[in-house]
Amino acid sequence: MIDFLKKFFKSEPSGVTARERLRLVLLSDHLSLAPDVVESLRADLIAVISKYVEVDEAHCDVTFEQQDSAVAMLANIPILSMRSRPMPPPPPAPSSPPTPDAPHMGGAATASASVAAELPAIAPKRRRRKRRASQNPAPAAG
């Protein structure tokens, strides 16, 4: 859509277009050239999410995709169950009845693991779009 509008109005000089395209493509190139950074990012992401839900670590996947006007990170994190730990206090609002498909709040870690083995994964694989690794605004032109 943005491409179409740009083309229609022809307002942007090609040097500016070139610069923007280059920034995105170089970001994409750099990300794919830094597998150690991506791996650290994946590990950190799993660690943070694991504080709230139990994830299937072996099938967690982090990729980067160049889109028309940004580079986006796509994280695929299969969730097995909620964590069995005290929940934070509920907000001061009328309490809602527990939903029928609320995850089983198991006891010990081993118990919840066996429950997880019997039940199918609670939520289907969710694609969570995280922060947009978008570009800096154009610098002052030379």
Binding site: P13, G15, L22, R23, H30, P139, A140, A141, G142
Partner: protein, 263 residues
Amino acid sequence: MSARRIVLTSGKGGVGKTTTTANLGAALAKRGKRVVLVDADIGLRNLDLVLGVEKRIVFDLVEVVEGRCQLRQALIKDKRFESLSILPASQTRDKTAVSELQFAQVIDGLTELCDYVLIDCPAGIEHGFRNAIAGAAEAIVVTTPEVSAIRDADRVIGKLHERGLPIRLVINRIRPEMVRSGDMMSVDDVCDILSAELLGIVPDDEEIIDTTNRGEPVVLTPDSRLGAIYEKIARRLDGEIVPFTSLNAPGFFGRLFGQKKAG
């Protein structure tokens, strides 16, 4: 005192590595420095042609490596600049004929003979590139303000960082009128994208085609605009602080680059 060993590289072919090596080398020699230019483009040699010494090649780098001649025998002394010599590449072999270690040893052999060794790197990031940087302690990345060239320069800069080589940038073939109309990226754009320190800016100038045809460095031409620019780059390389010249000659080019101009 051992020579400075500088590789001129780019990733992308055809941006002016060989032209820059030849002219920068000639400009340094004109200042009295002892310079050896090494053509690392085995199989597709061109440094000899650009300098007009193609008919005087007796031995080449591969023959030095294979021990079929002494290093000094392979060096061609330039007839115009007393302190300039060229070590040509082989034309009939390819880049796998020489290993990184062998190449580095040749460069080591040269460092006792001169003040500057400039290594003309082939296009690409494979064997030929790895050989060329094996001999170097510093790098000059040559690029043009075009999308493919900058992308490749970026890749090469990444590889050079891995080796810990300090990098400076030469932006070649800039067209001021196109920068002014917004149809070409500016010097600031390029430096910003590549995050490299600027060594020189060379405008697109048909003069270089003619001098290359004749096998003559452009610094030989009296009153040559390009010649003056290469001389400034040589001075900067030598450690002098030389401001970038404005191309704001009346009726010629308009405002170009913000704080950076050309030269």
